[in-house]
């Protein structure tokens, strides 16, 4: 073992980042052999948040690229350690804020594994339904912003038209449009309103024609095709070595989807295809995500058709808040409510990892318990963080303008990267 320096002695600065960018050899001619280091972000509109890139360019060609992140770091993992298990759920909404219920699911699955809870079928079906609606929600934002980055401004408005309908669904079921906290430890928080299934079905029946509409705007558009075809290539070997997951990995020809290969929350009972592509460029990722949206519609319709009857939470009165009516009439329920709210519930010591296929790729929650009512450690592994590492491989040797297209195709959310 040969540590290069003691941990506290490294205080790097911007010079180090530039030195990183300047790793390759320079020639002696001051004009033709010189490269330029430029800064992109953190306030650049096409970096999808507060991503900062330090780019070394030779003319307009990218020589090297170093992402600088942490502008949105809020210490969510540290905050989790000071909260009761049930109080962590709203925090998880804020990680990948385009798919809050997917975050809730991943966290709930990890804690349920520690508690050894059995989740009733209806809650599992509702989780699948809302996870897939979240995928539509996230992919709509991806498509709108990705197209806007490349100059097709109209698509953004069309995508947000449909997203608004989804937002109203989320509001109807949870009371919140974005930070839903709908999926809780042990099930889901509320019974969906009576007419909600019909509303979702009406949306889903109509939605494939809307996808056709987006494709009508983009598929044969020569600017769109020329900007993204053959751009941002990554080989399947590099993609695995760099930890890429989700649609970006499947676009590189690796046929792996957690929903099918390591099913959770009853996904094994649904029929759907996993789109795979071999081209591994920005175009392939665009086509693949459009196909994924159509598959999600199928899964949602299956979930609506086969929605089981029964409870929406597990039968565990010491963990799950009681029904309000029961709480007002039954002594035990009142006691349980008081105990859960004031003291939380103890979770057996141990560690558990859950893994779900989020819209952006593999999302893992690692929860360590020391037997108390507060998690000892919560760690989130988001696909965005690893996918960002692949950005340099995808952009090296390409034009500066392609960087924008590649960032859009990675579909990163800085909330999930910085946490």
């Amino acid at each position: 073992m040969s540590p290069v320096a003691a941990p506290d002695k490294i205080i790097p600065g911007i010079e180090d980042i530039i030195a990183d960018a300047n790793l390759h050899k320079h020639g002696t001619d001051p004009v033709s052999d010189q490269t330029m280091v430029i800064n992109m972000g953190p306030q650049h509109p096409s970096t999808h948040g507060v991503l900062r890139l330090v780019l070394e360019i030779d003319g307009e060609t990218v020589v090297s690229l170093a992402p600088d992140i942490g502008y949105l770091h809020t210490g969510i993992e540290k905050t989790c350690e000071a909260k009761f298990y049930q109080q962590v759920v709203p925090l998880t909404d804020r990680i990948d804020y385009l798919a809050p219920m997917t975050n809730n699911t991943a966290y709930a699955l990890a804690v349920e594994s520690l508690l050894d809870l059995e989740i009733p079928p209806k809650a599992q079906w509702l989780r699948v339904l809302f996870n897939e609606l979240m995928r539509l929600n996230s992919h709509l934002v991806w498509l709108g912003t990705h197209a806007m980055d490349i100059g097709a401004l109209t698509v953004f408005l069309y995508c947000f038209r449909e997203r608004e309908k989804l937002m109203r669904v989320f509001e109807a079921v949870s009371g919140q449009r974005m930070m839903t906290s709908y999926i809780r430890i042990g099930g889901v928080s509320l019974e969906p309103p009576l007419d909600l299934y019909d509303k979702i079905r009406a949306f889903l029946v109509e939605f494939p024609s809307k996808i056709d509409e987006y494709e009508g705007l983009l598929q044969n558009n020569p600017i769109w095709i020329n900007r993204i075809k053959g751009v941002g290539y990554i080989s399947p070997e590099d993609a695995i070595a760099l930890g890429v997951s989700g649609p970006v990995l499947r676009a590189a020809g690796i046929d792996f989807d957690l929903r099918r290969d390591m099913p959770y929350s009853s996904y094994e009972k649904f029929q759907f295809n996993v789109p795979v592509s071999q081209e591994s460029d920005v175009w392939a990722r665009y086509v693949l995500r459009m196909q994924e949206m159509r598959e999600s519609v199928k899964i949602c319709l299956q979930a609506l058709d086969g929605m089981p009857e029964g409870r929406i939470v597990a039968d565990a009165p010491k963990i799950i808040l009681p029904d309000r009516e029961q709480m007002k009439t039954q002594m035990e329920s009142l006691i349980h409510h008081f105990k859960i709210v004031t003291e939380g519930f103890a979770v057996p010591a141990g560690e558990a990892t859950s893994s779900v296929e989020a819209p952006h790729g593999m999302m893992n929650y690692y929860v360590v318990s020391d037997g108390t009512a507060k998690p000892y450690r919560v760690h989130m592994r988001n696909a965005d963080y690893a996918n960002l590492q692949a950005l340099e491989t995808m952009c090296k040797g390409r034009l500066l303008a392609d960087v924008v297209a590649v960032i859009g195709s990675l579909d990163i959310v800085l909330g999930a990267i910085d946490r």
Binding site: P7, D20, A82, G243, D261, T353, L388
Partner: protein
């Protein structure tokens, strides 16, 4: 739920055909199968060898590395590596335990370049050193920050 199985001998007997167990028979110092998750503990000197061995055994996809601070007990730090196999459709957790006054381990970026950001994050938030890492700098916190926020002796609120 199956009861947890602990101890290297019990694990070797229970899962004789598990490729990761076979690969780490001589290296692992502790083993656990709990809640359907297999955890193998390896000494810190052999983490690179252990990663190489499980990679050859089919665990091809590096997912995650993170740490847990067990302050004030010793060994203080637990580093958890999460590794996935696309073909076996299974996940493996490798654990390395580090003493609080000598929190350093070899980097595995040579095997999986994906570990780069993850090790930087652990370095930044826990102050654990990764020897041989190509670019060990803070990643989340400002560059001139003092202390490592995810350590248990670092307060959640108030003054440091």
């Amino acid at each position: 739920m199956d009861a947890a199985i602990t101890g290297t001998q019990a694990i070797f007997e229970k899962f004789p055909n598990e490729p990761a167990v076979k690969a780490l028979t001589t290296i692992a110092t502790d083993a656990k199968h709990d809640r359907g998750e297999l955890t193998l503990t390896v000494p810190r000197e052999s983490i690179v060898a252990a990663c190489q061995a499980v990679k050859q055994a089919g665990y091809n996809f590096f997912e995650d590395v993170t740490a847990v601070d067990w302050y004030p007990s010793e060994p203080r730090f637990q580093i958890s590596y999460s590794i996935l196999s696309h073909s076996l459709k299974r996940r493996l957790r490798l654990v390395v335990r580090l003493a609080g006054d000598d929190a350093a381990v070899d980097s595995i970026t040579g095997i999986w370049p994906a570990a780069n950001f993850y090790e930087r994050e652990v370095f930044d938030l826990f102050g654990i050193h990764f020897g041989g890492h190509p670019n060990l700098r803070r990643i989340m916190m400002p560059e001139d920050w003092n202390g490592h926020p995810l350590r248990k002796d670092y307060p959640v609120e108030g003054y440091r």
